[in-house]
Subunit: 256 residues, 2 copies
DNA sequence: GGGGCTGGTTCCACATCGTAGAACAAGGGC
DNA sequence: GCCCTTGTTCTACGATGTGGAACCAGCCCC
């Protein structure tokens, strides 16, 4: 929290973060004066920072008692971060095992408004064409990850069907009915397969990761060049993925 | 997150919070350019905010990949807030019941370097001399709250004995040996009593709240004027407090 | 009930410091 | 190797953040 340690520091921002830090650290609502005394900053300045932080919902101003405490925005960001962080940590060892077993890329993704977002990825050392990167997005309906999650959504399929279905490759499913039938299959089988529907020459096997309520918070997939994945190997991989996903889901408190 | 909604807004702070918001919301590390495109702010500006947020440890700059993600300071603040928030929520109904049963003030406090800090407090409607307020601190050794927590510390008593013991009233225990013996008693009985040791004419009964590891994360107490608390009533209250604390501890995952 | 005090809000004039365009450097992919 | 994308540095301008001081509003205490 020192002001030094590099140039390009914007002082108002730095000082406001000190205020945020102090308030959150206390664990109880604090007053303007308390903060001023602790931080040794001019009263007016701290006042404005508290106002700004409150306007952004990072803090909350209790008008009645005239005290400042942690705000809703801060809490919601913290929750999102913590959940994803926890998911990554739990999934990591399972992903590593899968990658080492099959020597193919293993992906972890979440759903975000009709698209999958890759939040983690493990690649075998050997050179290969990477189809995606962490942070990238693909349409949900063209990936095994997306289909795996859609199948376990409370209003299964409604998500994908609500939008039109962009055609990524010649193989991409663009017919809502066909997609719906596939998603029904996925729900029965417990895994999704996609062959060249998202990227020519690439295939994916995807499985959902469920939380304690059975909601598909994420999905994990193995992606490989089509030619390397013979049917028998695909079955073996699908079983391995299902096992790994079940163990992760159990860690998250899922019953089944 | 709108810039309007009141005067006294410091714009650099507001905009930097937008950056923090965006990064944390993504769930994966992001680049400078991604952030710029999303927020429609000048590149230089976003660059400096990212630098500043990183310097304050609210974000973390992964030099290798040149990406920004949530930082350690943010995570630690979030954890502190979440734990205390959860504690308050769980304790609240028990505290209310106790207050309504005995018509006396009920306190919730945590330990912070040889002092207790009140993090919540429920008072009966009738006028009474309030001995403390939320956020206030008292020496641990002069309060039932402090003694209750000390008794269940891994290195019981070491905390209090490491510092000298300020004399708050004529009754305050300032002898380390005497205090240690009392704390041993507390561990056996499961509750602590203090009569006029912190405030003349006021007595307190305190019980520890333990987490899953058995660590005393907080303590709860009933505080009342001495004259109102006859010995029999004190015993009844102590039992009620022990029961309430046990239920709260169980909620936190404690076994016993 | 008045007076003084503490804690919060508003005002204002100054110059600091944040701003953003543009130029530069570095890296990565084709 | 070359281009293009992405991150970093520079600089001159003036908007805007700053903080002292004045102003209020409760509240406690005589």
């Amino acid at each position: 929290m020192s002001k030094s340690g590099g140039d390009y520091i914007v002082l108002p921002v730095m000082k406001a973060l000190q205020v945020l830090d102090y308030v959150a650290r206390q664990g109880h609502d604090v007053t303007l004066t308390e903060t001023v005394q602790e931080l040794r900053l001019p009263k007016t300045t701290v006042f404005r920072y508290l106002q700004t932080l409150s306007a952004a919902q990072f803090l909350e101003h209790d008008l009645k008692r005239d005290r400042y405490g942690v705000g809703s925005k801060f809490r919601s960001l913290a929750r999102v971060d913590q959940e994803l962080q926890g998911l990554r940590d739990i999934a990591q060892p399972e992903m590593r095992t899968l990658m080492e077993t099959f020597h193919e890329t293993v992906n972890l993704a979440v759903l975000s408004e009709n698209e999958v977002v890759y939040i983690d990825m493990l690649e075998p050392g050997r050179p290969l064409r990477a189809n995606a990167r962490i942070g990238h997005r693909h349409p949900a309906h063209s990936t095994s990850l997306g289909k795996a999650m859609m199948a376990f959504l409370p209003d299964a399929g409604a998500l994908a069907l609500s939008s039109d279905l962009p055609q990524r490759t010649i193989n991409t499913l663009t017919d809502a009915d066909k997609l719906r039938r596939q998603v029904d299959d996925v729900r029965r089988r417990g895994y999704a397969i996609e062959v060249g529907e998202n990227e020519d020459g690439l295939m994916c096997i995807g499985v959902p990761i469920l939380d304690r309520t059975g909601y598909p918070v994420a999905a994990m997939s193995l992606s490989a060049p089509e030619r390397r994945m013979k049917p028998e190997l695909t079955m073996v991989a699908a079983d391995a993925l299902k096992g790994a996903a079940r163990r992760i889901s159990t860690h998250l408190g899922a019953q089944h």
